[in-house]
């Protein structure tokens, strides 16, 4: 009789606690642990690069402002999504993402492949007042981003923390993080050549907010938005809707 057994269990607080832990642990263990051991969970993308310090700083602004509450970064394997946003998202594309920003709600559109879709100038105008470029938009205006100087002095610590968690940043990348953040937003300077040296020729170096005298939070956020979907070309290689990969330099 199961009831008899349960009557017994109800008399022991510790027994009950152990039973709850046992019953509640199974699901999580079965679903989470294999994600670290099964190889096919994450595709292999040898061309995948890490975020530059400026892009990482921009990502942290995206995190800080809670953009995930309205924008997903996960194109599902559905025809209409692939046609609207581009090839469906692969696990490898967020392998360096801490936290992942797949999102759960689209009050605004998906951003997984927004990189390169609009000009830097469009992004700056849009973030400053979304209704200037999209009259129907209900997105908040982020006017202060262009006024706020980006904090770069602690970027080496950020990269070091990421490296401690397994992101392959080199010593040179960590050491030069603050310098590279500045260089990526100031093209044609000594600083900018270091960025392409360390992160590859295809890294977008630009005066994102249109001002080269100092680096603002606007620079960082736009640099991040422009790299979304462009860290690797893996998604363009074998999908339901094969497309030509956009040229990052265009």
């Amino acid at each position: 009789m199961p009831e008899l057994f349960h009557r017994k269990l109800e008399r022991s607080a510790i027994g009950f606690v152990i039973a709850i832990i046992a019953a509640a642990s199974v699901g999580g263990i079965v679903e989470i642990a294999p994600l670290f051991t099964i190889d096919e969970t994450i595709e292999h993308a040898p061309d995948m690069r890490v975020y530059t310090p400026l892009e990482l700083a921009g990502r942290n602004i995206y995190v800080r402002e809670g953009c995930y509450a309205c924008h997903s970064q996960m194109i599902r394997t559905l025809r209409d999504e692939v046609e609207r946003y581009g090839p469906y998202s692969l696990a490898v594309e967020s392998q360096y993402d801490r936290p992942m920003l797949w999102g759960s709600k689209r009050t605004g559109p998906d951003l997984a492949r927004v990189g390169g879709k609009y000009s830097d100038f469009w992004h700056v105008a849009h973030l400053t007042n979304p209704r200037d470029v999209v009259p129907e938009s209900n997105m908040p205006a982020y006017t202060w981003l262009a006024r706020t100087t980006l904090k770069t002095d602690d970027l080496p610590q950020h990269l070091a923390a990421q490296r401690a968690l397994g992101v392959p940043y080199t010593d040179a990348m960590v050491e030069n993080a603050a310098r590279d953040a500045y260089g990526q937003a100031t093209p044609d300077t000594d600083f900018s050549s270091g960025v392409t040296e360390r992160y590859g020729d295809k890294t977008l170096v630009s005066a994102f907010d249109g001002v080269t005298t100092h680096v603002t939070e606007m620079d960082a956020l736009v640099a991040y938005l422009q790299v979304l979907g462009r860290l690797t070309g893996a998604a363009y290689e074998d999908t339901a809707a094969p497309e030509k990969k956009p040229d990052p330099e265009s």
């Binding site: 509640a24 699901g27 999580g28 809670g66 209409d80 967020s94 610590q157």
Partner: protein
């Protein structure tokens, strides 16, 4: 309150408060160029208020009553008041963010008031502030009555209650400052998370120690749910929040879980926060206050067992249904879907058990708005668990995911189930705690009930409409095989529903304000009751099992 502590207990409490203040000082010093420093100051202020309160009666007279022969209700009273205060705050933030979606200029061009920062103040405010305080308060009440034993601590209940509220203050002020992990429903940063672990372990020990003191041979079913709530929330919270701070002087941290694994851990956490915070805990409330109010024993003991273990086991598999058609491996999605559908069985077993308990008491449901709150809560629980299982089915999810339908579903559960069962329990609990005959005004309970029902229905219908329209517009093709609508077209179609939703939320908020007024007046002026014995040692009236 403090007069019920002995002088050595007061000194001990003072010591803890000073230790917390020193921890705040260390945070302020280490994080002086960061938001961590601001939080250090907040911790010091919080501890400072507690220190002031203790100091002001440190040398007061020793407690006169024999504490062993009475239940410990002081922390419960404060918990109920805090819960209602957070309800008004959290619901106000909800109405504000809802209005921002219709009128974006309501952010007033400031950083702290933009939608992305305010939205978690709403979710944390209502889930943790309102729901969490209500759970702590009612669990303290239920465990004492059903065990016929006094809480196993004098200071620890205060530590749990105030410590939890300090966590809420840190979390919510953090979002306004831009300190967030951007993990949904787990936005608070590493130091607040660590603090919550300390508080939660204390809560668990206190709870188990109280149960160990019980004068009843069996542990009552409400306590099963409260134990599952405390235990599993601890597991979820710790695993999901494992993170590496940038430095000891930074509020910012990076989670140890990357990409796809983070997605799985996050929704394993997220969905089970729904399961064990918003379901198990509130089922604990239901299993005590509903039979007490209806004056009927729980319909079926077997159904209670079935639903309890079903919920505890099945829910933990269901989180991956938040990730259908994503880069999460297909087999995990399928498991999540399967268990989500199976969850309907224990969920409806609970709902059915509660409704059948009301058999023979339906005239009370008609006449007593407090019991009607609980009955309506059970109905919404049944509806939203059905809806949840339905939405977890992969093809349904392809339409509903990313749309307002999800938001509507969450609110059918949060407003219809969680908030209604809480209000029903609070209206049962308040007169008992303050030893009143009844609530100050039965008419105001009635007003609150109808405001809450109207608000919930308007909200949920608006979101069903907007969500389904949105989902359909995204996938509509023209005859030529092109997408028929741009994203902006679908956004424009949402505006009328966003306005309706804000209005529904406003009605619900007004109901909560009416409730606060009614509670305040009950405490102040409702007639005192001569109650039957309500004490630990002598046999007290408890609901049958």
């Amino acid at each position: 309150m403090i007069s019920n502590l002995t002088s050595s207990e007061r000194q001990y409490a003072l010591l803890i408060a000073v230790a917390v203040a020193l921890a705040g000082l260390a945070m302020a010093a280490l994080g002086r160029s960061d938001t961590l420093g601001v939080h250090g100051v907040i911790v010091m202020l919080f501890a400072g208020v507690v220190i002031y309160l203790i100091m002001s009666s440190l040398y007061g007279p020793e407690p006169t009553e024999d504490r062993a022969v009475s239940y410990y209700d002081d922390p419960i009273k404060v918990g109920i008041v805090l819960s209602m205060a957070w309800a008004v705050f959290g619901m106000f933030m909800g109405v504000w963010v809802a209005a921002q979606l219709a009128w974006p200029d309501l952010a007033f061009d400031a950083a702290w008031s933009s939608f992305g920062r305010l939205r978690p103040t709403h979710t944390s405010g209502v889930i943790f502030g309102f729901g969490g305080n209500a759970l702590i308060a009612t669990s303290f009440h239920v465990v004492q009555r059903t065990s016929r034993a006094r809480l196993a601590g004098q200071i620890s209940p205060w530590f749990v209650l105030l410590g939890f509220n300090l966590f809420c203050v840190l979390a919510i002020s953090g979002y306004l400052l831009g300190t967030t992990q951007s993990k949904e429903y787990a936005e608070a940063e590493w130091y607040a998370d660590l603090w919550l672990v300390i508080v939660w372990v204390t809560y668990f020990i206190l709870y188990i120690a109280t149960i160990a003191r019980r004068k009843e041979p069996h542990i009552y079913v409400a306590n099963w749910y409260f134990m599952a709530f405390i235990l599993v929330v601890a597991i979820l919270h710790i695993v999901n929040n494992l993170a590496l701070p940038v430095s000891w002087g930074h509020a910012k941290s990076y989670t140890i879980w990357p990409g796809v694994q983070d997605a799985m851990v996050q929704w394993w956490y997220g969905h089970n926060a729904v399961a064990f915070f918003l379901t198990a805990g509130f089922l604990g409330m239901l299993y005590y206050y509903l039979p007490v109010r209806a004056q009927r024993p729980i319909f079926s003991y077997r159904l209670s067992i079935l639903s309890f273990w079903g919920i505890t086991f099945f829910y933990m598999w269901a989180g991956s249904h938040h990730l259908h058609y994503t880069a999460l491996p297909h087999w995990v999605q399928t498991l999540g879907m399967t268990f989500s559908v199976m969850l309907l069985v224990p969920s409806w077993a609970s709902a059915g058990n509660a409704l059948l308990t009301l058999n023979g008491a339906w005239h009370r449901v008609r006449d007593d708005a407090t019991l009607r709150f609980m009955m309506a809560a059970v109905v919404f629980y049944g509806l939203s668990t059905f809806e949840g299982s339905f939405m977890a089915i992969r093809p349904v999810n392809s339409l509903s995911h990313y749309t307002d339908w999800t938001v509507g579903h969450v609110h059918a559960g949060a407003l219809g189930w969680v908030a209604l069962i809480t209000f029903g329990s609070v209206y049962t609990l308040v007169p008992a705690l303050w030893k009143r005959e009844r609530m100050y005004s039965a008419a105001l309970v009635e007003v609150h009930f109808w405001l809450a029902i109207a608000g919930t229905l308007i909200y949920v219908f608006a979101m069903w409409n907007s969500g389904i329209i949105q989902g359909l517009m995204w996938r509509t093709y023209t005859e030529e095989g092109a997408l028929a609508y741009s994203f902006v077209d679908s956004l424009v179609a949402m505006y009328p529903y966003y306005i309706a939703r804000a209005f529904g939320g406003l009605l619900f908020l007004l109901g909560a304000v009416v409730g606060c007024y009614n509670i305040w007046m009950t405490v102040r002026s409702a007639p005192l009751a001569v109650r039957e014995t309500d004490a630990p040692v002598v046999p007290a009236a408890v609901p049958g099992e």
